[in-house]
Symmetry: C2
Subunit: 135 residues, 2 copies
Amino acid sequence: MTGSPSPLKLKLQILCGDAIAMGPGKADLLEAIATEGSISGAGRKLGMSYRRAWQLVDLMNRCWCAPLVETSPGSARGGGARLTADGQDVLTTYRTLQAALETRAAGPELAMLQAKLRPRALRSQAERLDEAAED
Amino acid sequence: MTGSPSPLKLKLQILCGDAIAMGPGKADLLEAIATEGSISGAGRKLGMSYRRAWQLVDLMNRCWCAPLVETSPGSARGGGARLTADGQDVLTTYRTLQAALETRAAGPELAMLQAKLRPRALRSQAERLDEAAED
């Protein structure tokens, strides 16, 4: 392996029928809910609308046997939210699996690919023409 | 593990700067070029426009140190194309890495997640209302 950053991007999704029950964005949202203590705060932290954050939480809660997030009883928009024990379990397990796959991926196959890869893509013909036009 | 199909979806991308040098769609395209013998035939097989298939090939050829696909000299649209030795190498290595990751993923963490997952998502409130309106 060289010292250059890994060119690998690994996206792990857990499907529930056609729905994505867990993935990188939902895991980040769960983490933000745990630290911010609310869905609105988590959305703000991630630059996501309250509506979008709420929709993702709602979908997660419908995909898993038990809800992953619970909101404080009677709380309106901006009220408190926290991960349930199942929510914390699913998040931890997802992160563990992700880390294990990233460790496995950093093996001989990746080194072989990396050795053949340019540090960045050559410019396309259109880009070269654009640049010539700017001269 | 239960006998139900795996809920895992693993997307492996190899980046070259900001560009995706290899991923599921590009690997499928390389395979189709190898079997169909042309970029246009590969595009047809995958339900992809010739323009789109050509753009993906062009991007791959700009991301890797050596081209992955070579076209027959002087061939116009629909002319022959085949994988170079590097193209075959990159494709094989990518598929090997993908299979190794899928094998690694089918472990205890996935079983733990699968045990907590519904077979399909509960309907949302909007879907329940739509259904009631259809009654």
